[in-house]
């Protein structure tokens, strides 16, 4: 069974790589199989890891036991069932109820968390290096940085503030980009490009490693299993 599994996996791997040459029946076969299998997998997981432990078990427990708290779960189930209204064209509008709940829920969760984790945290991260600069220059720092390293550090900190401000300026929409604003936003674009370049370069290694692993599988595990 294990050897058979390797052969199946190798066959499907090659089917998908054949896409690199052009569209062909083998790729179409793998693509459709992949879609079918993944939807099936999704259904099984949402029943076994979602519906049963989260809704069914608590309800069952309150039907057989004393505590009735599990019956609360009937409310979300009711709203979930409203999705089936989609099947009847006259009642389609009913699915707006569960969708509205999910959207309101998502929006409510987002506001404080985004403010905290992204805005406050990122602003602090930009300002903080200057407290190190202050403590280094006034001699209150625990560890004194070597002067060369400190210079690099100052350049980095100043560049960071300039970069953040210029990039943000690029994202000003209700002002026309003329004069100083246009200059700032041009510098911002330069920062963005450097950022994109480095993100691109940094991702290469991870993706190539994934490819190497697949080739390793084909060459060593699969072909290796033949000989």
């Amino acid at each position: 069974m294990q050897v058979f599994g390797i052969w199946v996996a190798a066959f499907l791997t090659l089917c998908i790589y054949s896409f690199l040459y052009q569209d062909n029946p083998l790729y179409r076969f793998a693509e459709h199989l992949f879609v079918g299998i993944s939807v099936g997998y999704g259904i099984v997981l949402s029943i076994h890891e979602g519906f049963i432990p989260l809704a069914w078990n608590p309800i069952w427990a309150s039907l057989t036991g004393d505590s009735l708290s599990g019956l609360w779960k009937l409310i979300p189930i009711f709203f979930g069932l409203l999705f089936f209204a989609r099947l009847s064209p006259r009642h389609t509008w009913l699915i707006r109820y569960p969708i509205a709940i999910l959207i309101g829920f998502g929006a409510g969760i987002a506001i404080p968390n985004v403010l905290r984790a992204n805005i406050f945290e990122q602003t602090r991260g930009t300002i903080e290096p200057f407290s190190v600069i202050h403590s280094q220059t006034t001699g209150t720092a625990v560890e004194v940085m070597p002067s060369g390293e400190f210079t690099v550090f100052i350049i980095g900190a100043v560049l960071m503030v300039i970069g953040v401000i210029c990039t943000l300026t690029y994202f000003f929409f209700s002002v026309e980009h003329r004069g100083p604003i246009s200059w700032l936003s041009k510098v911002g674009i330069c920062f963005l490009m450097v950022g994109f370049g480095s993100a691109f370069g940094n991702t290469v290694m991870g993706r190539v490693t994934l490819l190497i692993q697949r080739v390793d599988f084909l060459l060593n595990t699969w072909i290796g299993s033949i000989f």
Partner: protein
């Protein structure tokens, strides 16, 4: 009925989720947990619905004999196999696990690994030093790539052996990633976060209604 109730529901759930996050009281904690759980229960139902749609789409394709209709049978085969084995026996069943490990995971990994090819071809085609911005993009990408693999330092140490600095290829990469890269990302994140907040405020207050679709 068709528009007002959804807007009210959206408002209530939004406000409740915000309020509970500012309150340490046990009752508010309990409400928070129940709502999070409730949302987790509602979402899977949407998938059941989607499956119905998927079956409809492919059934129509087969009935109408549209292009490549034969492949729709493959979709059904995969779907039915997983559901017939998985739903009654659960995801820890050996056959289900076998299918997952030898069919789904390899295909997932292979699709992911296609990126290596596409990254190379995108780099070859798009990295042309046409403008200042494009040049910046290209040069940083090259520096970071060389700093990532040992060859980068090897080449540096060979070429720059007359300078006192060693292993500067990886140091340059580190500096770029930590400095200009981070500030650009911060700029994007700050802007996007403001967008997220304003969108959420509009949704909760019922100003943004596009999710209701058109009609009445």
């Amino acid at each position: 009925m068709k528009r007002l109730i959804p807007l009210v529901l959206c408002f209530i759930f939004g406000i409740v989720m915000i309020a509970t996050q500012f309150s340490p009281h046990p009752i508010s904690k309990r409400v928070y947990e129940e709502v999070v759980n409730g949302a987790l229960i509602i979402s899977p139902f949407a998938l059941v619905l989607a499956t119905v749609t998927l079956i409809q789409t492919h059934a129509t394709r087969i009935l109408r004999r549209s292009d490549h209709w034969q492949y729709s049978f493959v979709v059904f085969a995969g779907l039915i196999t997983m559901v017939v084995i998985g739903v009654p026996f659960g995801p820890k069943n050996t056959v289900f696990e076998w299918l997952y490990n030898n069919v789904q995971v390899p295909m997932d990994a292979t699709m992911f690994s296609l990126l290596a090819f596409f990254i190379a071809s995108a780099a070859y085609r798009a990295f042309r030093a046409r403008t200042t911005e494009a040049t910046l993009l290209l040069v940083t990408a090259l520096i970071v790539m060389l700093g990532n693999v040992p060859v980068g330092n090897l080449v540096w140490n060979k070429l720059m052996s007359w300078t006192p600095w060693v292993d500067q290829a990886s140091a340059a990469r580190e500096w770029i990633l930590y400095n200009p890269n981070l500030s650009a990302r911060r700029g994007i994140i700050l802007g996007v976060s403001l967008g997220v907040i304003s969108q959420s405020v509009r949704i909760i207050l019922g100003i943004e209604r596009s999710y209701l679709g058109g009609g009445d």
